[in-house]
C-alpha cells in the first residue's frame, strides 16, 4: 500500500491545522484528537471518583464514624456513581477507542459527521460542568445515589436538579455519538469490506450505538420528568398527587439496563481484538461472536425488571423478567467459549494487553455468574440491596469494562502516541491492580450474603473482618492504578519513540497505517478482501523489532 519513496506526512499529533496549541485540540474535528480529548477528560474524572471510592472504603475500615459522617458518605457514593457511570463507563470505550480506531479499522478517513463528533465532546463537557455545579451550590451535594429514585429525588433538600439535568445533557452526547457510529459503519466501510469482514470491535460498537440511539432517549425524558417534578410538581411520581414512584423505576431501568450493555459490549469487542493477536490464531467462531453481540443488544432491552424484583410486580412479570435474564446470559457465555477456544493451541504471547484480556475473562465470569444469582427470584430477595449487588456490578462494570479499557490502552498505546511504554512497570501495575481488585470486591460477596446492606456508612461489628480485607484491597488496587497511570503518562511524554507500524503482529487495518496515524489515516482507501484475524500464515517467527 505504501512505498518507501512516499514523503512522510506529519502525524495527527504534529499536524498544524487552523488553530494552534490547545485550540488545535478542542476545536479539532479529527476523530483521533477527539478520542484523546475524551481520554484525558475521563482520566481526570476517573481519578476524582477513585479518590471518592477509596475514601468510602476507608470509612468502612471500622464500624461507626471513622473519617466521615452519614451525609458526607451519601453524597460521596452519589458523586462516585454519577461520575463513574455517566462520565466514564457509559461513554467510555466508544468515545475514546471507538472514536480513535473505528474509522481506521473500517478503512475510513474519519467518522461520517466529524463536526457532530466534536459537538458531542462539547455537549459532554457542558453536561459535566452542570453536574459539577450541583456540588457547590444550592442545598449541598445530592444524596440520592446515581439512580435518582423517586420520590426521594424530588423531596431531598440537596441540590439534585443540576445533577439530573447534567446527566440529561450528557445523554445527548451519547445519542449523537451513537448516530455518528451507525452511519459511519453503514456508509464508510472500505470497498470489499462486507459486513462479515468487519473486525469485531467495530461490530460491538455497532451494537452499542444502536442501544445508545434507542435507549438513551428514555432516560432523557425520565430525567426531565424528575426536573419537572421538582420544579413544577406535575405529580407523575408523587403518590401525594396520584403518581406512582414504581413507574419511575420502570422508566429508569428501561434505559439503565441496556446501558449496562453499552458499557460491556465494546469491552467484549476489545477482548475479541486482543486475544487472537496474542494467540496468533484466527478467532474461533467469528459469526457466533457477531450474532451474540447483536443478540445481547436486542434481548438486553427486555430484562430491566430484574432490578425491581422486590419493588412490587405481578408474579407473571417476575417469572418473565427472570427467564429473560437467564436468556441474555447465553450469548455472553458463547463469547467466553469463543475466546477460550481461540487461545486453545494458540501460540500465546505474554504481553501486557494479553494479561488484561485473560484477567478480564476471569472477572467477567465471576461477575456474570453472580449476576445469575441475582437474576434468580428466590436468591434475589435475600441479596437485594446488599453488598453482594455492589460486588457483582463492580465485577462487571469495573472488572469488565475497566479491564478491557486498560487492555485497550496497553494494546493501542504505541499506535496512538508513537511511543512505547515500559512493559515491566505495566505488568507490575497489572499484577498489583488485579490482586487489589480481588481482595477489594470478593469479600463484598460474602458480606452481602451475610446481610450487610449497601449505601450505609456504618455496619454491625460482626462484619468487621471482611471489611478490613476489602479496605486494604482498595489501597492495594489504588497503588496499582498509580503505577499504571504513572507509567502511561511518563511514556506518552517521553517514552522511546517508535514508528513500527505493527508491533504486535495484528491483522486488522489499524496496524497497516502509519504510527502515529496521519491526519487522514490513509493516502488511499485500502481494499479489503479477506476476513480479519486470519493467522493461517503464521510461521512462528515474530517481528524481530518486538
Amino acid at each position: 500500500m505504501t512505498d518507501n519513496t512516499r514523503q512522510k506526512q506529519p502525524s495527527f499529533l504534529e499536524y498544524q491545522g487552523r488553530y494552534k496549541g490547545i485550540l488545535g485540540w478542542i476545536l479539532s474535528t479529527d476523530h483521533k484528537r477527539i478520542g484523546l480529548l475524551y481520554l484525558y477528560t475521563m482520566l481526570f474524572f476517573f481519578s476524582v471518583a477513585a479518590i471518592l471510592g477509596i475514601l468510602m472504603k476507608t470509612q468502612l475500615l471500622a464500624p461507626g464514624e471513622t473519617i466521615m459522617g452519614p451525609q458526607t458518605y451519601n453524597s460521596f457514593f452519589t458523586l462516585h456513581g454519577i461520575i463513574m457511570i455517566f462520565i466514564i463507563v457509559v461513554p467510555g470505550l466508544p468515545a475514546v477507542f471507538g472514536n480513535f480506531f473505528l474509522p481506521i479499522m473500517i478503512g475510513a478517513k474519519d467518522v461520517a459527521f466529524p463536526r457532530l463528533n466534536l459537538l458531542s465532546w462539547w455537549v459532554y463537557i457542558i453536561g459535566i460542568l452542570i453536574v459539577l455545579t450541583s456540588q457547590f451550590t444550592g442545598g449541598g451535594p445530592p444524596d440520592t445515589g446515581w439512580t435518582f429514585y423517586a420520590p426521594y429525588s424530588f423531596q431531598t433538600p440537596t441540590n439534585v436538579l443540576p445533577a439530573v439535568f447534567g446527566a440529561f445533557v450528557m445523554g445527548f452526547s451519547s445519542i449523537l455519538t451513537g448516530i455518528n457510529f451507525v452511519v459511519t459503519i453503514h456508509r464508510l466501510r472500505a470497498p470489499g469490506m462486507s459486513w462479515l469482514k468487519m473486525p469485531l470491535f467495530p461490530w460491538t460498537l455497532y451494537g452499542t450505538a444502536w442501544i445508545q440511539i434507542l435507549a438513551t432517549p428514555v432516560i432523557g425524558i425520565t430525567l426531565l420528568l424528575i426536573v419537572a417534578e421538582r420544579m413544577l410538581g406535575i405529580g407523575f411520581f408523587d403518590p401525594a398527587l396520584g403518581g406512582d414512584p414504581i413507574l419511575y423505576q420502570h422508566l429508569f431501568w428501561i434505559y439503565s439496563h441496556p446501558a449496562v450493555y453499552i458499557m460491556i459490549l465494546p469491552a467484549m469487542g476489545v477482548i475479541s481484538e486482543i486475544i487472537p493477536v496474542f494467540s496468533k490464531k484466527s478467532i474461533f467462531g467469528y459469526r457466533a461472536i457477531v450474532l451474540s453481540t447483536m443478540a445481547i443488544a436486542f434481548v438486553g432491552y427486555f430484562v430491566w425488571g430484574h432490578h425491581m424484583f422486590t419493588s412490587g410486580m405481578s408474579g407473571r412479570a417476575l417469572f418473565t423478567f427472570s427467564f429473560l435474564t437467564f436468556l441474555v446470559a447465553i450469548p455472553s457465555a458463547i463469547k467466553v467459549f469463543n475466546w477460550v477456544a481461540t487461545m486453545h493451541k494458540g501460540s500465546l504471547h505474554l504481553h501486557t494487553p494479553f494479561f488484561w484480556a485473560v484477567s478480564f475473562l476471569f472477572v467477567f465470569m465471576v461477575g456474570g455468574l453472580t449476576g445469575l444469582v441475582l437474576g434468580a427470584l428466590a436468591t434475589n430477595v435475600h441479596l437485594h440491596d446488599t453488598h453482594f449487588v455492589v460486588a457483582h456490578f463492580h465485577f462487571i462494570v469495573f472488572g469488565g469494562t475497566g479491564f478491557a479499557f486498560m487492555g485497550a490502552i496497553h494494546y493501542w498505546f504505541p499506535k496512538m502516541f508513537g511511543r512505547m511504554y515500559d512493559a515491566k512497570w505495566a505488568n507490575l501495575g497489572w499484577g498489583i491492580f488485579f490482586i487489589g481488585f480481588l481482595s477489594l470486591y470478593l469479600p463484598m460477596f460474602y458480606l452481602g450474603m451475610m446481610g450487610m446492606p449497601r449505601r450505609y456508612y456504618d455496619y454491625l461489628p460482626e462484619f468487621h473482618g471482611p471489611n478490613i480485607l476489602s479496605s486494604l484491597g482498595a489501597w492495594v488496587m489504588i497503588s496499582g492504578i498509580l503505577i499504571i497511570f504513572a507509567n502511561l503518562i511518563r511514556s506518552a511524554r517521553s517514552g522511546p519513540r517508535t514508528s513500527e507500524k505493527n508491533p504486535w503482529g495484528g491483522k486488522t487495518l489499524e496496524w497497516q497505517v502509519d504510527t502515529p496515524p496521519t491526519l487522514e489515516n490513509y493516502d488511499e482507501i485500502p481494499r479489503v478482501d479477506e476476513t480479519p484475524y486470519d493467522y493461517r500464515d503464521y510461521t512462528g517467527i515474530d517481528n524481530p523489532n518486538n
Binding site: K109, D110, A112, F113, L116, I175, G178, I179, N180, V182, V183, H186, R187, L188, I213, L214, A215, T216, P217, V218, G220, I221, T222, L224, L225, A228, L232, G233, I234, G235, F236, L241, G242, G243, D244, L247, L251, I254, E520
Partner: protein, 198 residues
C-alpha cells in the same frame, strides 16, 4: 483535502435521530397509558375542558405546513428557488401561528386554574392532576420542538438566500423537512389522545 459529501448518509443520520425522538415521546405515551387506565373517568371529564376547535385548527395548520415544506423540497429540486422560499415562508408562518394559538390555549387553562400545583386541581383529585400534568408536559415538549423547527426554518431560509442550499445540494432542507414531519406526526397522536377520545 477533498470535501466528503454523502447526502444519503446525512439523511440516514436524520432518520436515526427521528428514532430517538419517537422513543422519547413513546415513553410519555406509556406514562399517559398507565395513568389513563388508572383514572379513565377523570381523564374523560378533564378532556372536556380542552378547546377542541382550537386543537382542530392547529392540527389542520400543521398538516398544511407539512405539505408546504414537502412542496418546497420539490421546488428546489426543480431549481425554482423563489417558489421554494415562498413555501418555506408559509411553513414558518404556520409554525408561529401554531405557537400563538398554543399561547392562548394555555393562557385560558391558567386563567381557570388548571395548571400543575394549582389549588383548583388539588380539589379535583388525582386523575385531573395527572391529566393536566401530562397535558402541559407533553404539549410543552412538543411546543419546544416547534420552536426548534422555527429556528431550523430560519436557518434554511437564510442559507437558501445565500445560495448555500440549491438545486444540487439541498440535504439540509430535506432533513429539516423530515424533522418537521416528525413534529407533525407526534401532534397527530397528541391531538386525539387529549382532545378527542372519550
Amino acid at each position: 483535502m477533498t470535501i466528503h459529501r454523502d447526502d444519503l448518509g446525512d439523511k440516514f443520520g436524520m432518520w436515526l435521530f427521528i428514532f430517538t425522538e419517537l422513543l422519547l415521546f413513546g415513553m410519555l405515551f406509556v406514562v399517559y397509558a398507565v395513568y389513563r387506565s388508572m383514572h379513565p373517568e377523570a381523564f374523560r371529564i378533564a378532556a372536556e375542558e380542552l378547546d377542541v376547535a382550537l386543537g382542530t385548527i392547529n392540527t389542520v395548520l400543521l398538516l398544511i405546513s407539512s405539505l408546504t415544506v414537502a412542496m418546497s423540497i420539490t421546488a428546489i429540486q426543480k431549481g425554482n428557488k423563489q417558489r421554494a422560499l415562498q413555501l418555506l415562508g408559509v411553513t414558518l408562518l404556520i409554525a408561529i401561528i401554531f405557537l400563538v394559538n398554543k399561547y392562548f390555549e394555555w393562557g385560558a387553562k391558567f386563567e381557570y386554574g388548571f395548571y400543575p400545583g394549582s389549588e383548583v386541581l388539588q380539589e379535583l383529585g388525582f386523575g385531573t392532576i395527572l391529566f393536566f400534568g401530562l397535558y402541559f408536559f407533553m404539549t410543552g415538549i412538543h411546543a419546544l420542538h416547534i420552536l426548534i423547527g422555527i429556528g431550523l426554518f430560519i436557518y434554511v431560509i437564510v442559507q437558501m438566500k445565500n445560495d448555500k442550499i440549491h438545486q444540487t445540494d439541498y440535504v439540509w432542507l430535506e432533513n429539516t423537512g423530515l424533522y418537521w414531519h416528525l413534529v407533525d406526526l407526534i401532534w397527530i397522536f397528541l391531538f386525539p389522545l387529549f382532545y378527542l377520545i372519550h
